[in-house]
Symmetry: C2
Subunit: 365 residues, 2 copies
DNA sequence: GTTAGCACTCATTTATTTAGAGTGCTAACA
DNA sequence: TGTTAGCACTCTAAATAAATGAGTGCTAAC
């Protein structure tokens, strides 16, 4: 056991022995806190390794060669690369279980309206973390149709109102060339409800559709249009509701705040539509803890290539899954963010359970 | 006619003779263009007055005393005060009739959906002017009810779908303690539609309501709730839709781009809800040209006290009035903005007329 | 393998200088 | 009496220079 270090040194495939790992960890932690390049001297004091700065320097030199840290310019300290962050969140991170201040209070207020509540989730997170947040409403993915109502608004327009599990409501105006009679309307309503209620999108297949059209007889054209609307409603992709908050927080991080970059980011947040990508990515990802982390270039949106994005998915009942994302600088406080996100996820799911079990007296959505 | 100047000099109550006016105008114009304090020498070249810089200096000194211009610091040029801007937009401005690039093209694409279209209006304006824009959907003020549909979704919930003139649709879930029968539903639907269709909010008064409740008999409680929903839908105040675009443009103007101020502004744009104030202010204002200008402190929102806000109201048919606002630095190009806004207003109103006259083949909402 | 020591680099800060824009005032002019 | 040239003065912004200091890499000694 002449030199313990030696033994460990070549064990790992990535060329990192324990000491290097410790040093790298220290560099990252320190950089997360300060946002400044960190030098050898700092590390030598910061860690319990009891090594001189010179030794640290040697190690850091190796770490640089391995691609974990870089110098922004000669004779500056080192900063972590994306590769280092990745390693960090994958293996080195200890999660802090973060208390979210009066989270419940703020949420409960808005319990009645789903959209208000999600908007609030975004806001609470933004205020608590000082990053920008994105919350998408639960996509009605694989979700079941609950109710359809066709109504004649006037001679040329009929209104299809579609309610899916979870009381998401969608309206679609359909224009018709000539008025439908009351009987037709009634027939259609019964037809649609008896056949479609309780079905998910996958079940509404071609056979089903032809069958329905046959039954509808001469009104099959309308049925077609209605089914399109239904499909759209169930799929719900097209206009996935997106709520954001704290876009202005971006300006708080100098590394993101230069006018061009910040402008693009803020624009992305304002336009919202691109943000749906985050949800999509997040939802199809790992369903284990439901947390995913994108660092730098990994981020699903071009404008965020200098950011890190942490996403969580939440699930309200059968297949109603939405996502929460936090966007910040690469040196974001991953521990805090992941902790906060997990708490929020649980909070949200609990709230839903409680609400739907107590057979709410209030209207929702 | 020894000295023509003398004759005009004391005519105006505000102490401005023609020459001073010309100089002030020149100062403002120049400052709008450059954003830099403007000095006497510049003016002496810039104008056709053929006066030396020294003379201009004397005049400017007077203008400063009168409160129209100030020096940001000794020995800098002068910049206009809010008072000067006010004078400028009130009396000196000549409107440029600005062509909006492919405005129509962009709007037509989105003709189908009102919300998409308004979102687009905001975007087009933001891109064209390089300022931030706010568009509010037409408030259904004094508007008429077109259609009501009550449907039973399940045993404890009924859905009220309300359509008002202009095909704005609103849904409300109402919880009931015990299921309603089919007959009751049918009765309610007929009752509501026969009595309420074509009515505006003002007409749905207490007498009406009691009358309806009587007719509904034991179901009067439900009727009450439905009427509440209707009132809310027609009033439509609560959640006035607000669309924004170009918030990032704020960062383009150094005088607004310092982190604190810009952050607040961007936040205001993201939260949206405060922006409804702009609409409210704008809608109750002068219905003549429909254009209003708020300079600095006059602005209806605290965060905009260093900005100017130009608003226009548009009217789609009877009483459906919405607003468009442009938010920029005080040195915004008022001529261009007012011109653009007027064009947009007309464009929008035309589009609506055309659309509602040709009895659209497409769905809207 | 570890460390002290030293020369060197380079971003950041601070001070100093310079240039230029602009003013106010005075005296002269038409 | 209004206009103007001229000049001293002020103050910002830009350019330049100097000082600081954090950090590195390398070498030689432990």
């Amino acid at each position: 056991m002449a030199k313990q270090k030696k033994e460990n040194s070549e064990v790992r495939a990535d060329g990192l022995d324990e000491r290097k790992l410790k040093i790298l960890h220290a560099v990252i932690r320190n950089y997360l806190e300060t946002g400044e390049p960190v030098g050898s001297r700092t590390i030598s004091k910061y860690t319990d390794l009891n090594l001189s700065s010179a030794t640290i320097r040697n190690e850091m030199s190796d770490l640089e060669e391995l691609g974990y840290i870089i110098q922004p310019h000669t004779s500056a300290g080192r900063i972590p690369t994306d590769k280092a962050y990745r390693l960090y969140v994958d293996t080195m991170m200890e999660e802090k279980d973060r208390e979210i201040n009066n989270l419940k209070g703020m949420l409960v207020e808005a319990e009645e309206k789903m959209d208000m509540m999600l908007k609030n989730v975004a806001k609470v997170l933004a205020v608590n973390t000082n990053y920008a947040t994105v919350v998408t409403a639960p996509a009605i993915h694989g979700n079941k149709l609950k109710f359809i109502q066709i109504s004649r608004v006037d001679d040329s327009q009929i209104l299809a109102t579609i309610v899916v599990e979870g009381n998401m409501i969608r309206n679609n105006m359909i224009s018709v060339d000539e008025p439908l009679t009351d009987e037709t309307m009634l027939k259609l309503n019964i037809l649609l409800n008896t056949h479609l209620t309780g079905m998910s999108l996958d079940e509404i297949n071609l056979g089903m559709i032809t069958h329905l059209k046959e039954q509808a007889g001469i009104d099959s054209k309308i049925v077609g249009e209605i089914l399109d609307a239904v499909a759209q409603a169930i799929r719900g992709e097209e206009d996935l509701e997106v709520y954001t908050s704290g876009a202005n927080n971006i300006l708080k991080y100098p590394e993101l705040a230069d006018n061009q970059r910040a402008g693009d980011l803020i624009n992305t947040f304002e336009e919202k539509q691109a943000l749906a990508r985050i949800a999509a990515d997040s939802l199809e990802g790992d369903a284990g803890t439901g947390i995913q982390i994108y660092i730098g270039e990994e981020a699903p949106i071009e404008a965020m290539k200098d950011c890190s994005v942490v996403t969580a998915t939440y699930e309200l009942g059968e297949g109603m899954r939405g996502s929460i994302a936090i966007v910040g600088p690469k040196r974001m406080d991953y521990e805090k963010v992941v902790g906060t996100l997990k708490t929020m996820k649980v909070e949200l799911e609990d709230m839903y359970k409680k609400k739907s079990s107590k057979k709410s007296k209030k209207s929702d959505q």
